[in-house]
């Protein structure tokens, strides 16, 4: 299980990285934390002629919290996101999601951008991005564009990122509602594995415990993590009564077309999707009510 041969270059800046990938086109791949890329190389599922290392680019490692969004460089490490208390206060879902991502050793290398671009259907950060409607800033040698999560994820392990593009920044919306709560949960066979199904939710309530804003999504039950903005609107104005919650979760699960593998059947995944969606909404709602 040795990687096929390739050539390596360490980019010092975003510009340099973009120039490299423009030059080599399809033959080059960016490497950030390597926690998904290196196993694929070891299995010889990928054979790029060049690996362009963007992990040492200072301009890709920062967290800046602004009123409406927390912005972070694409190469911000998962462990740094997890341990950032200020960030956790602004976008609590991130820390909750990362508790389920791999292990200490993989989070010490793995990056936010790498996880999003890898786009595993059951990965936690892509789900979080969908739920919160995160925006990704993409740079090429000639262009900069910003994509919302909804158009960023195109399919299982595929995104809208072009071969000559580098994700440089991720913008996580910050909810300004005072009483906001969020929750993340998943079922996996072993702790730290990719989820069979994962669910995430964020809910804001007024002083009357009525929902003023809600977002939720489900991962692992479709080629891309799914968010349900329209269904979430049905919760606004309610106190997430049992029946409403059940119906919304059920309707969300019903839209999904999960696959089957050795760990779970499509039926089990769809079932879990409904159960977990209801659970995270309830937990997020409870947290919102408890928030001060």
């Amino acid at each position: 299980m040795k990687s096929p041969p390739f050539e390596y270059a360490r980019a010092a800046s975003i510009e340099e990285a973009c120039a490299f990938i423009a030059q080599h086109g399809d033959d080059a791949k960016l490497i950030a934390g390597g926690q998904s890329l290196v196993p694929m190389m070891a299995f010889r599922l990928l054979r790029p002629g060049w690996l362009i290392d963007i992990d040492a680019i200072p301009a890709l490692k920062y967290v800046a919290i602004e009123t409406d969004a927390a912005r972070m460089g694409a190469c911000t490490r998962q462990c740094d996101i997890q341990h950032d208390d200020v960030l956790a206060a602004a976008v609590p879902l991130l820390r909750q999601a990362l508790a389920h991502v791999g292990h200490v050793q993989t989070r010490n290398r793995g990056t936010a951008g790498g996880s999003l671009v890898h786009a595993d259907p059951s990965a936690e950060l892509p789900l979080t991005a969908q739920v919160l409607e995160a925006r990704m800033v993409l740079r090429s040698h000639s262009d900069t564009r910003t994509l919302p999560a909804a158009s960023f994820f195109e399919g299982a392990m595929t995104t809208a990122v072009r071969p000559d593009e580098c994700v440089v920044e991720i913008q996580w919306p910050v909810w300004r509602e005072k009483k906001t709560g969020s929750a993340f949960t998943e079922i996996s066979r072993r702790h730290g594995d990719f989820a069979i199904v994962a669910a995430a939710a964020q809910v804001a309530v007024d002083d009357d415990a009525r929902c003023t804003r809600a977002a939720f999504g489900i991962g692992g039950a479709a080629p891309t993590p799914a968010a349900f903005p329209d269904l979430a609107k049905r919760l606004v104005g309610t106190r997430l009564e049992k029946e409403t919650l059940r119906d919304v979760a059920h309707d969300a699960a019903a839209t999904l077309e999960p696959g089957s593998d050795i760990h779970a059947s499509a039926g089990y995944r769809r079932h879990l999707a409904g159960v977990l969606a209801a659970r995270v909404l309830q937990s997020a709602y409870d947290a919102a009510r408890a928030a001060r």
């Binding site: 096929p4 041969p5 390596y8 926690q35 070891a42 050793q105 730290g192």
Partner: protein
């Protein structure tokens, strides 16, 4: 056509080591085959078992999921670097011996790295925190129980509460 070689310089267990490697040489293969530091083990080469854990700039990582070229300019600590400067076993190593926290020894270097990193950050971890810290390190011999006990013992000893 022969593969291109890259010059690297990595501080390993406190000593600067240099070498010429192909880009595809993993960090663990470089440590084992080029530096003859065979204490770091290989169990899966795809990131799951944790046997290859080393510290990179003080944080535990999987050395099968890194190319040696990526570690150029960084600091690596392997199991060979855990003992005290005089060569005596560290408190953690000694606690593994005392609590029988190993059998075949194959996962042990990775376990020690994961545990040492935990104790560096959190000197009095709970059982849950210990299990979480070694949750990415598979052991087939011990069922983890005596490993957890060994780490608990090391924490108590470091706090001066046990011999």
């Amino acid at each position: 056509m022969s593969e291109r070689l890259y010059a690297i310089a990595i501080e390993v267990n406190g000593t600067k080591r240099t070498g010429q490697v192909t880009a595809r040489t993993s960090l663990v293969d470089w440590l084992r085959e080029h530096l003859n530091l065979t204490g770091t083990h290989v169990g899966c080469e795809h990131g799951i078992c944790g046997a290859c854990s080393v510290m990179l700039d003080g944080a535990p990582v999987r050395s099968c999921l890194m190319y040696a070229v990526q570690a150029d300019g960084h600091r690596v600590t392997t199991v060979e670097g855990l003992a005290r400067p005089d060569g005596q076993l560290s408190v953690l190593q000694d606690s593994f011996c005392e609590a029988h926290g190993l059998q075949c020894g194959y996962c042990t270097p990775g376990m020690l790295i994961a545990a040492q990193a935990l104790l560096d950050e959190n000197p009095r971890p709970s059982e849950h925190e210990i299990r979480d810290a070694i949750g990415g390190n598979l052991c087939r011999c011990t069922g983890y129980q005596q490993i957890v006990e060994a780490i608990e013992l090391a924490a108590r000893r470091m706090a001066g509460e046990a011999e």
